[in-house]
Symmetry: none
Subunit: 428 residues, 2 copies
């Protein structure tokens, strides 16, 4: 089944509201085997609404309209629908009684525009709305379904969950199931992954399996998905591709859970091993601490750390010798190593991570340009630092250096012997 | 000028990504007098892309396409465009050299798909992309403008700001001018601001001046805007409203610059006064340090700090007496005050800020529930802490406690005697 979504509202077009409804609908429809092919966003405009409807009925089995059902004069979806289907109105008594009761309870006078809320086009089936005052509407003509819902996310979700999805699932019986699998990777770039690692995986995709690269802040998420006659047969098809990806890039896959972060993975690994971490941050300036402490329960394994922005803190709190700072500079291998070791010792942590570098945009020199960053690592067994040449962009440098630090810790905790792509440890 | 937006990407249709680009574009285009009539969201599908383009060219003066320009096989916008315009490809040498340089610096092999990034349809003007590797493209045929941009928000925004909006503003000359003014507020909620402070300002808005509340992570931005025959006459109209807002809520207005952050404002004030700050974070876990160090040049006034997540760090590094921790608990007024003072002394900073609280979701008790947070402040003249009862949400608690700490420092540096709404300092 193919769906088109029509999102109605001027506020969406001038950017005062972000269209979160469309994403939610797309995701939920998939669970009923319905594929969203198109989302059309338009203003509260009679001509445009009818035109969008006409176009949608040509292609889609299901059209879901959200928005424009409020009580004010700029909400015209209902009149556009009655006009489009060329029908009159009927009063939905259940809705009328419900609105009257709500208004009485709240002691609000019942006005003409409230009465109009219970008027609906003759040819629709009413979807009773307990989450608000505007009812949803279900039209069915010549095998096409048109559903009209309020734009307020809570009301839209209530009506979808209570009425629409249930009905669609009933009808989908015997049809194909959407199955997906997510793999999260860190420590490798999109093009390197695609060209050097997953080139051969592509040939497995002619089997109705789709693979999408979703680059995010943490790295890359691969979504592999397919439609299959049953969930089990779908999962089987996906597993073939997932296994091929693991074969080519296992050390980069930090988890296979949707919406999972690298910081959460590191947290789980630390908890499993009963280990703790502490961080000493210069160039990342708190990004790494912040990422690690975003995870609920992180106080069990994150001791804390030091944001050693000023050199005096590197010396005074972390005990980096002044002579070392003078000889090698703050952005150097010995300082990164010393910071990692010192913060671990100071806090009795099992692992120490450190960053020191030129985040930019200022502060670079010919010898130490913006983007030069050293990441330090300390554990009782291993002590090293890694030289990175990252970006011109301050925020990207803070983030990426923190991610590499976390990814190295993840590999150590997982017993992986390799390092993020193109990153080499330098031992003492 | 009428614009249509075409957002491309399967991830938008299956709900993995919310289309925030469309809202941003709609808002920014308005500032050039361009009205967005429609947004069409479709997948990475050659036929649908060309169909959407054809339909758009019939109605719109300007079509902006986002997405589908990545280096992998599922990104097909560029080939669809070349096909649509029936042209071949040319190599953009500036982009090629830039990508090669970037890859060389990072020591990543230059692969075939990277080379393809610098190939563009013959008939386009290239919009050089410093924020990524996919260039933007500007097509102009029979009076229609078609712009193709990467879907990654940071790259899209960079290309819009650097190239597209400037060009559109140039072409808008002679039309009525869109004039806007932004006022950023912290330390007050949207409804309190609207009901208690700005009630009377509303009556000034019948003059063609629009006022929008844009709640953001930092607080609230008020955008007042109007269309006027000249920039000067527009500015005059806005100034009347701005002055009324200042009269009602001056102490909450931290700046009147678009996209300005509270952290940047605090940074400017510290620089102006030649003062420095250090932070001791427990519940905010690095959020405050990270926010302050996001500002370029912050190393001049941000000494750094301590993420005192574990109590042992509060004791060992910050010297909070064990007896105090035992008597009052880590989440308490004396500990917040001690942390603020100690981190300032330790780093020789002029100001010390501290947070300690129950970020949640776990760790709350009847006496100290989730969301209870103490923020400490120390300077040579003043030493106090503020008790906050915030949210159930961990991320919101980290963020809001950091913002209140920054806002209090802003007020001190600006000579403002009041505190954020409903926040009271408790001195020793």
């Amino acid at each position: 089944m193919i769906a088109h979504l029509i999102s109605i509202g001027n506020e969406l077009l001038i950017g005062d509201t972000i269209n979160t409804n469309a994403a939610w609908l797309g995701k939920e429809l998939l669970t009923c085997g319905v594929e969203t092919e198109k989302v059309i966003t338009i203003g509260d405009d009679d001509t445009l609404i009818k035109k969008a409807l006409r176009q949608s009925l040509k292609r889609a089995d299901l059209t879901i309209i959200t928005g424009g059902l409020g009580p004010t004069h700029d909400d015209i979806t209902k009149t556009a629908l009655a006009d489009f289907f060329n029908v009159g109105y009927k009063t939905d008594t259940q809705t009328l009684e419900y609105i009257q009761e709500v208004f009485k309870k709240r002691n609000i006078p019942f006005s003409e525009s409230n009465y109009a809320q219970a008027q609906v086009p003759e040819n629709c089936k009413v979807l009773f709305n307990k989450a608000g005052t505007a009812p949803g509407m279900w039209f069915e003509e010549d095998g096409h379904i048109v559903v009209s819902l309020p734009g307020v996310p809570s009301e839209m979700k209530y009506l979808m969950t209570t009425h629409v999805l249930t009905e669609l699932r009933k009808r989908a019986t015997g049809q194909s199931h959407y199955v997906s699998h997510y793999m999260n990777l860190a420590g490798i770039g999109e093009s390197t992954l695609s060209d050097l690692r997953l080139k051969d995986v592509r040939s497995l995709l002619n089997n109705g399996v789709n693979m999408a690269y979703l680059p995010g802040r943490h790295g890359i998420t691969l979504r592999i998905s397919t439609f299959a006659p049953s969930l089990d047969s779908g999962k089987e098809k996906l597993e073939v591709v997932a296994e091929a990806i693991r074969k080519q890039a296992l050390e980069y896959v930090y988890s296979e859970e949707k919406d999972d972060s690298l910081a959460a993975t590191v947290g789980r690994l630390l908890s499993e091993h009963g280990k703790t971490v502490a961080v000493a941050e210069s160039c990342s300036g708190g990004f790494l601490s912040n990422a690690l402490t975003n995870i609920p329960g992180s106080s069990a394994y994150m001791m804390g750390g030091v944001v050693a922005y000023d050199n005096s803190i590197k010396e005074k709190i972390l005990g980096v010798p002044q002579s070392m700072l003078n000889e090698f500079g703050a952005v150097s291998k010995p300082v990164a190593m010393e910071m990692a070791k010192s913060v671990a010792k100071l806090t009795n942590a099992d692992f120490g991570l450190a960053t020191t570098g030129i985040a930019g945009p200022g502060g670079g020199t010919a010898e130490k340009p913006v983007g030069l960053i050293w990441v330090g690592f300390w554990s009782a067994d291993e002590h090293f630092a890694m030289k990175l040449q990252l970006f011109k962009d301050r925020m990207a440098n803070k983030e990426r250096s923190a991610i590499i630090a976390m990814d190295v810790l993840r590999r150590k905790l997982s017993g992986i012997k390799t390092y993020p792509y193109d990153v080499k440890p330098e031992f003492e």
